[in-house]
């Protein structure tokens, strides 16, 4: 499970997929998760980082992260299985 290597990510949360021309905007938490994925962090490391930075319950980020990774896959931004 990896973010596709050629996805361009800007600091302001703008994503561009040069393969198919799709572009996306993302909110702050999503931008952080994507940049962590770019650094090859695994889901546990990502959760830890988000919990440290944001005011959020562990159960919430667990649920949201699962769903978000699925969303990235649905949009062809990741390869492999989410699980």
């Amino acid at each position: 499970m990896k973010l596709l290597s050629n996805i361009a990510v800007s600091e302001s949360g703008y994503l561009f997929n040069p393969t198919n021309g799709d572009s996306f905007s993302s909110n702050a938490v999503a931008t952080d998760i994507i940049s962590l994925l770019k650094q090859d962090k695994n889901p546990d490391e990502i959760k830890k980082a988000i919990l440290e930075k944001y005011d959020v319950e562990k159960s919430t980020i667990e649920r949201d992260l699962d769903e978000f990774l699925q969303e990235l896959r649905d949009n062809y931004l990741m390869d492999g299985d989410v699980r």
Binding site: S26, N27, V29, K53, D55, V56, T60
Partner: protein, 457 residues
């Protein structure tokens, strides 16, 4: 929240949104999502803390402001105007009394509403008694109180002829007239039809009965009328009847009652334009009605009193429903769904309106499209089919706007109980005006036969 977590950044569910270059966001500007954190300067959060969620909130300031602007629209155009508060729209006593303090009479359509108006202290002769269902006892009482009885059908007219034979007082009556005003379907099930001379026949019967006095003519042509022209047509048909009564019996009709039906600024389900753009507004309706009457050719001394029974347009804006997100889920087709703690059981008007929903707290500009459901285990329990809202999480509060009309009367006690209703007065003080129901409110009405009191499982 711990001291440590206070320093942390506010969390929002992660989302990405695909951008279609060249296409504008179809929802246009973002003002829809501006949070409503306060109502009349009172924090929404505080109301929910004190009165629970969901909770209806009425702004007394908005009630009065709306009443005064409606009155101004008519008074600046016509010398004799009287509003009568349509009880069925919202008959919580505190709401009725705001309108009575402003000068409204009462318009009621049942013995129950009649009794409510009397208990609120409305003088009998300032109660308009409408509707097809008036019992003999209710009619007798209305005659005794000199209330204005608006006759709906011939059976009622014959009842009255009989009752007044033995009553001490004459009955003060009007007839409800239905007519073609160019808006379809016709509301011809109430009152006497104008075009087929049924209304005239009823008038003749009343004029021939010396125990009844025909004081007025009434119509209520429909509800949420989006064209003010329909009111010109209605007014001119009532004027025509009044004119012919004058001609035949030399009797001046005291009032014309044009009923209710003005559109509020809500958006009807499935309509293309938001309600604020499509509703004509008080000035347009007033212009249509008053110019028709003024130009009809009444002598100055015969100019009838103009009565209006405006309901939803008077009270919609002043009502809010506060609620809380119970859950988020994703539907099988990928759409987002948000489940609220209020459903169509208490927000009955969700069947008619696309109610505006705002978050009650700040969010980033990110939004997503979602279906908004209520908490009932019923497929019909849908508040909005599709709405773009910020990334609501469980426990977040929302404010539903313009819910003042018909919800606090047509709400159902179904699956859940009805919540508290509070009113914010002009000074910003919050008053509870209707207690939330408890299980005892309901089971207190039930009776168990002896053989059903116990069981073994």
């Amino acid at each position: 929240m711990t001291a440590e977590s206070k320093a942390k950044v506010r969390y929002e569910r992660p989302i990405i949104r695909k951008m279609n270059s060249g296409l504008m966001n179809k929802f246009g500007t973002r003002t829809e999502y501006a949070p409503t954190s306060h109502i009349d300067s009172v924090p929404v959060k505080r109301i929910i803390q004190e009165y629970g969620s969901p909770c209806f909130v009425i702004s007394e300031r908005t009630l009065r402001k709306t009443y005064q602007s409606a009155l101004r629209a008519f008074k600046t155009r016509y010398p004799k105007v009287q509003f009568a508060w349509s009880y069925k729209t919202n008959y919580i006593d505190a709401v009725c009394n705001v309108f009575h303090q402003e000068g409204s009479w009462a318009e009621v359509v049942s013995g129950f509403e009649y009794e409510k108006a009397i208990r609120n202290g409305v003088p009998g002769n300032k109660i308009i008694f409408n509707g097809p269902d008036k019992s003999t006892d209710e009619l007798k009482r209305a005659i005794e109180n000199e209330s204005l009885i608006h006759i709906d059908h011939f059976d009622e007219l014959y009842d009255l002829i009989e009752i007044t034979e033995t009553s001490k007082k004459k009955a003060k009556v009007a007839i409800r007239v239905n007519m073609d005003v160019g808006v379809y379907p016709l509301w011809d099930r109430f009152g006497f039809n104008y075009e087929s001379y049924q209304a005239w026949q009823a008038i003749v019967k009343i004029m021939n009965c010396d125990r009844m006095e025909l004081v007025g003519l009434h119509c209520h042509i429909g509800t949420f009328m989006l064209t003010s022209n329909a009111y010109s047509v209605a007014a001119s048909k009532l004027c025509d009847l009044a004119y012919n009564i004058k001609l035949k019996w030399n009797k001046s009709i005291q009032y014309l009652d044009l009923g209710g039906g003005f559109a509020s600024t809500n958006t009807l389900r499935g309509s293309y334009l938001p309600g604020s753009d499509s509703s004509p507004g008080f000035d347009d309706y007033a212009e249509a009605i008053t110019s028709t009457i003024l130009n009809f050719g009444f002598k100055q001394e015969d100019l009838p009193l103009l009565i209006l029974e405006t309901g939803r347009a008077m009270v919609d804006d002043a009502g809010y429903l506060l609620g809380t997100v119970l859950a988020n889920k994703r539907l099988s087709d990928g759409r987002r769904a948000t489940i609220m703690d209020f459903g169509v059981n208490i927000l009955f008007t969700a069947f008619w309106y696309e109610h505006k929903i705002s978050p009650a707290q700040e969010f980033t500009h990110h939004t997503e499209e979602m279906v908004v459901y209520g908490p009932l285990c019923m497929n019909i329990d849908k508040i909005r089919e599709s709405v773009s809202l910020p990334l609501l999480s469980r426990g977040d509060h929302v404010v539903v706007h313009k819910v003042g009309a018909y919800n606090m009367t047509q709400w159902m006690q179904f699956i859940a109980m009805r919540p508290n209703v509070v009113m914010i007065d002009a000074k910003g003080e919050v008053h509870k005006i209707r207690e939330r129901e408890t299980i005892d409110t309901l089971t207190g009405l039930e009776l168990k036969p002896d053989h059903l009191k116990t069981f073994k499982l």
